[in-house]
Symmetry: C3
Subunit: 269 residues, 3 copies
């Protein structure tokens, strides 16, 4: 398919999206893995959203339908949680609530690969993954062919465009530079920060922030890109304040709390 | 019902209760939600208690009966965990072990509302919640009528008194000011700190601290109020040391560790 | 049994093991308790390993067989997770993947004691516990007789040697001084740090680090001792940088990230 060159998300757009997000304080129904529940909640709280982890089949459909957005993360998937996730997606879709998929380690294991394939047939609003995950998921969309997880970011960008085109989702492939695409237009957010890879849950929590930004978003491509940019800027700022992954985590949450439409240049400097 | 004006918990009482708590190092059997397990354990460890998360039906009754106190938190309730909680409550009650209920989001969803109603019929020693939760639970006690979750703290105080009167529990309704009541006497602890609302689990961990203070307490009203005061003072101190919710969390745990009967005035200054 | 006097792990051996570990960046399949999943992942990431928490019966056997090492921690054991753990151990053993057992609170409750007895019959590569746990597990090996959990470290050292002899595992009994034994030779790592006992999961995360060091280890005794020494040195360094358990945790992760074969003397000074 033909595809335009990625363009960097304008700071003015980020400022506008950040102001919208902060005013909305969206309620995010989070169904995520066992490892990252606390950091996911803390990232959402620090950034200005309201997380709620609701997992029982007796509660999930009701809550997903009244939430501002839903996050599905398959990190420690098992049968009971997968059933709850499917209920959440069905209820969210019926109620017009946007939902985001984080396909953790898709492609590496058949059980979660099958689960993610079934989930994307239910049309997620957004998908956020690293290069390997987005390539694996795009490969699955092409019929389950193998995916070279050692491919570079160019290949992941093509896979992201393909996946967006096939599913209708906004697809974010994150790494040193994040690419966010609807299949036609691609935005880039260039605020990489290597320490983040040494703190568990930063990617998973970013997916929750992506979900939060899709709540009530007039432009979903810009909303998802703004979530990536907000986390990237906060991460870059935090990296300068910290001495390693332990101090990075606290500084990252502090930065998410303090980032404002008015101080973007200072934060990203 | 008639009710006296709340009085602030005297520092001398707090000092006495804190000394008792530190000497006891109570073993707390914690049955809580998926999101806050780590911070709950760390708050108890920093404050001077010994947390134990035991969840299997094969172990819960034995352990609840030998613990110093039990905490029940319904945050991410599901059927298996609810069954374990009911076992824990039954075993604790039979053995005379005090137990505390944190009715997270009661009133918002029928499943947990029903579960909390059933639990309070088993006579908790203490209940800790925010204004909406205490009002919802009191409404449930009045027959399940709706509760206006937008009501202010005065309404929550009346609901807390009513709930205490109906259940025999010490009820703590926490917020900017915490009110702790046995239905007749009401104590207040005025050490609010807004950053706490941007760190997940501070309320849930406070409930665990409430449970810990009820272990072997000669005066349960003063014990619960002292737990609230200890957390509030540590939070106020931490707020001054921190730059946002990330650094607040570390500073809060440090403050809980360092607060002593001898330095209360310094901490609360 | 006759036993030689413990000797302190030489810094040159630690430096060599640390270099080997960093070059390998081993993939560790972690099956641990609900409370410590995040700190366990963060300790492994900060130290230089790659954690993966995979829990579904559909995925566990496949993943355990391709991991560099497996950790089994019974902290919040329940039937479903125990079944997954048994699958992981069977698959790891069949594939020649080393696995480490952390027998949390063994001896205190029959269900986990029985589970741990069954697990050690499957020949763990390493076992890491505190004095009470190692003595309880050794007692179980002797036929389930009672164990005096109030015994001192000398008794735990004998129990560790006995347990190593009976199971073929490297046994680490950790505390102020850590002892690591194969039943004949015993190494000691003397970098104790009391704040660690006030942060949940430091022991559990050490077990994960022990597992990580066993991956591809040419000398398992030295590998396990090096994991204990790395954590101990980082803890000792962190204790000097911190004001309590909250700041300790961040400083500990930072220290694990920065410790190098070249700066061991500086860190341990």
């Amino acid at each position: 398919m033909s595809a335009s060159t990625p363009t960097t998300l304008p700071l003015a757009t980020l400022a506008q999206e950040l102001a919208r997000f902060r005013a909305a304080c969206p309620l995010v129904h989070v169904l995520t893995n066992e490892v990252v529940q606390e950091i996911t909640a803390n990232v959402l709280l620090a950034a200005g959203a309201a997380p709620a982890m609701i997992v029982a089949e007796e509660e999930v459909p009701t809550f997903a339908a009244i939430a501002g957005a839903v996050l599905i993360n398959v990190g420690t998937l098992h049968a009971t949680r997968l059933a709850a996730m499917q209920q959440a997606v069905t209820a969210a879709s019926a109620a017009g609530v946007p939902w985001t998929l984080d396909p953790v380690a898709v492609g590496a294991l058949k059980y979660r690969t099958d689960a993610c394939q079934a989930l994307i047939r239910q049309k997620p609003t957004a998908i956020r993954g690293n290069a390997s995950e987005i390539m694996a998921l795009a490969g699955a969309g092409q019929g389950g062919r193998g995916v070279d997880s050692t491919s570079g970011s160019d290949a992941a960008l093509d896979a992201a465009r393909f996946l967006a085109h096939e599913t209708g989702a906004i697809v974010a492939v994150t790494g040193e530079t994040d690419y966010i695409t609807d299949g036609k237009t691609t935005l880039a957010t260039p605020w990489g920060h290597p320490l983040m890879t040494r703190v568990v849950g930063t990617g998973c929590a970013l997916s929750a922030l992506v979900a939060a930004f899709t709540a009530g978003a007039p432009n979903r491509l810009e909303a998802v890109a703004s979530a990536c940019a907000m986390a990237g800027m906060a991460g870059q700022y935090a990296q300068k304040q910290s001495h390693g992954p332990g101090s990075f985590k606290g500084a990252f949450l502090d930065a998410l709390y303090h980032i404002q439409p008015e101080n973007l240049l200072e934060i990203s400097a």
